[in-house]
């Protein structure tokens, strides 16, 4: 397992490029937005929407669809870009993000086609995923629930309530992906709660864990295939990522956790992403 053919990989890389350009489009000019965290999970979001998940813009209410929840809701720009790319709404809508009356709000809301839950208050999206996974078990449906959390978000106590509950209910239809970019709003994650050994923490709660390079699409899809094959336990994929990945001047810095692009830096950002 874990091997995809070159053509699939090439197509995924193109999708990842489109998602990154979509993030920049959604961010716009002179409006603050969460560039760094959106870029760090862009490859994971791409792999989910364009390789792994069973979903369709034509039947967004299909009860058997896989569910995706961006628990680190501030990184929703990556999801918006993927949803536009997948045809849930026009790519022209991206530029309306956060403008008055837009269907694309600053954090995920269900009014947006393709968005499953209202998230952004950290820790809560994970638990919503737990509820969806329990519902899948109760209804004997074979959909899978994917949740992206941030490593900074792991400081929320609710994360560990959800981790315990998932194991008790043997939610093997739930995969949580930790976007471990190491940087939160005000600085380095290790300078805050210094959450060491994230895989070990999930494993201690009975989860099956995987560690990947969160920007290596072959690694991501291969590991997601392994994770969804696990039976009897929830799975956590700990993804080593780079905050701002692709926009070199924003990489590994909290300066672009929530910041704006000027016409000049926007051009630089696009050129940087194109050169990836």
């Amino acid at each position: 397992m874990g091997k995809i053919d070159d053509a699939t990989l090439k197509a995924l890389k193109e999708k990842a490029l489109s998602v990154r350009l979509g993030i920049i489009e959604a961010l716009g000019i002179d409006h603050r937005g969460h560039l760094g965290g959106s870029m760090s999970c862009a490859d994971i979001v791409t792999a989910l929407y364009f390789y792994k998940m069973k979903h369709s813009a034509k039947s967004p209410d299909d009860p058997d669809r896989d569910r995706f929840i961006m628990s680190k809701g501030h990184s929703v720009l990556a999801q918006y870009a993927a949803l536009a790319e997948a045809g849930y709404f026009g790519k022209d809508v991206l530029a309306t993000t956060k403008s008055l009356g837009s269907v694309l709000q600053g954090h995920p809301e269900r009014e947006t086609p393709g968005v499953e839950a209202n998230t952004g208050s950290l820790g809560q999206g994970f638990s919503m995923g737990v509820g969806m996974a329990i519902a899948g078990k109760l209804d004997k449906r074979d959909y899978h629930v994917y949740v992206i959390v941030g490593d900074g978000e792991l400081a929320e106590g609710q994360i560990w309530e959800a981790t315990m509950a998932s194991n008790v209910y043997s939610l093997d239809n739930l995969t949580v992906i930790v976007d471990m970019n190491g940087i939160q709003a005000m600085g380095k994650t290790r300078d805050r709660y210094a959450i060491q050994n994230i895989p070990g923490r999930f494993a201690a709660f009975g989860w099956k864990t995987f560690e990947i390079d969160g920007h290596d699409l072959a690694d991501i899809v291969g590991t997601l295939d392994k994770a969804t094959a696990v039976k009897g336990a929830p799975t956590a994929v700990i993804a080593r990522t780079v905050k701002g990945k692709g926009v070199t001047f924003a990489e590994n810095s909290h300066d672009y956790h929530n910041n704006l692009l000027t016409p000049e830096t926007r051009e630089k950002a696009i050129a940087s992403v194109m050169a990836m």
Partner: protein, 312 residues
């Protein structure tokens, strides 16, 4: 004084009502945070175990998971003590349940002083205020065990968030099977001309007793019950109050943000002189008997009558 009324337990009535509803609708699921005997969600655990989800002592996760269940078509009833199910996961209710208007029912048990022995940490005088301020939330405070099943059915008929508060103890029955329950509309329990005593839950019987005390002083009091705190229909409230000159509101809740506040809000364009009896910006304490606490904090027929006389 009237004869002592028959008393029945609202939470026991709730458990049976939920069981009946859950038998008829397989999408109903009961969630609890390790207090299912107290909340009576144990009726589901014991009789329909496939519709019971034990969430452990993690209220935040319980509420957000309920949102996830509702997003997949389930109708979650979320249970624990009122203070733990409203105040602790408050933001989860706001963000995950009320903002997206999900079909989640929050059921707060052991309201007011009704968990008399456990003391201030387990008593709750804030739930109506906390739940009422949330957009999309409907707030019910059933008056007695007879009314509880009607409230459960009304909650189910609403496709959206509902909060129900329940007393822990046996409380006097003031309604009958045939008594109507209408969302948003007060119920006149007894007619009167001079003053209206506005009540809900355990205070209803106190209001009826206060009315008899007032009658001895030649004053005519009505007793009007408010099992819906939100939404409250102004026309229906004015119709129920009739032409009284003053109001006494009596609640087992803080005087800030509860029944008295809800009535004041709907009457604000043409208010009536009102005395509010309830928890006056303070916490409770332990006691061996519920009645000791009700008396200690002024929730008595005598106190209500005195307040009414002061207004007339």
């Amino acid at each position: 004084m009237s004869d002592k009324k028959i008393e029945k337990n609202p939470r026991a009535a709730y458990g049976l009502a939920l069981l009946e509803a859950a038998k008829a609708n397989k999408n109903i699921v009961a969630l609890d945070a390790d207090l299912c005997t107290s909340t009576q969600s144990a009726q589901i655990q014991n009789n329909l175990p496939e519709q019971y989800i034990e969430m452990g002592i993690g209220e935040a996760n319980m509420v957000s998971a309920a949102a996830g269940l509702a997003l997949c078509g389930k109708i979650p009833f979320v249970h624990t003590f009122a203070i733990f199910v409203t105040a602790r996961p408050y933001e989860q209710i706001r963000q995950g349940v009320c903002l997206p208007k999900l079909n989640v029912k929050i059921v707060g048990s052991s309201v007011g002083l009704s968990d008399f022995g456990d003391g201030a940490t387990h008593q709750c005088f804030e739930d109506l205020a906390l739940m009422s301020v949330l957009p999309n939330m409907t707030v019910f405070a059933p008056v007695d065990a007879t009314e509880v099943p009607k409230v459960v059915r009304a909650a189910l008929a609403i496709n959206g968030p509902v909060y129900i508060r329940l007393n822990r103890n046996d409380t006097p029955l003031v309604t009958e099977e045939a008594t109507p329950f209408e969302v948003g509309k007060p119920l006149v329990l007894a007619e009167g001309k001079d003053v209206a005593i506005c009540v809900n839950g355990v205070t209803a019987d106190m209001g009826l007793k206060a009315r008899e005390i007032l009658a001895k002083s030649g004053k005519s009091a009505s007793v009007v019950n408010f099992s819906t705190i939100k939404p409250l229909d102004e026309k229906a409230v004015r119709a129920a109050l009739g032409s009284v000159r003053a109001l006494v509101t009596v609640e087992e809740h803080s005087v800030i943000g509860g029944l008295g506040a809800a009535i004041a809000r709907v009457l604000s364009r043409a208010p009536l002189p009102t005395e509010r009896i309830g928890f006056a910006d303070r916490y409770g304490q332990s006691a061996h008997e519920y009645e000791q606490l009700l008396e200690r904090y002024g929730l008595t027929p005598d106190n209500i009558a005195k307040a009414a006389l002061g207004l007339l």
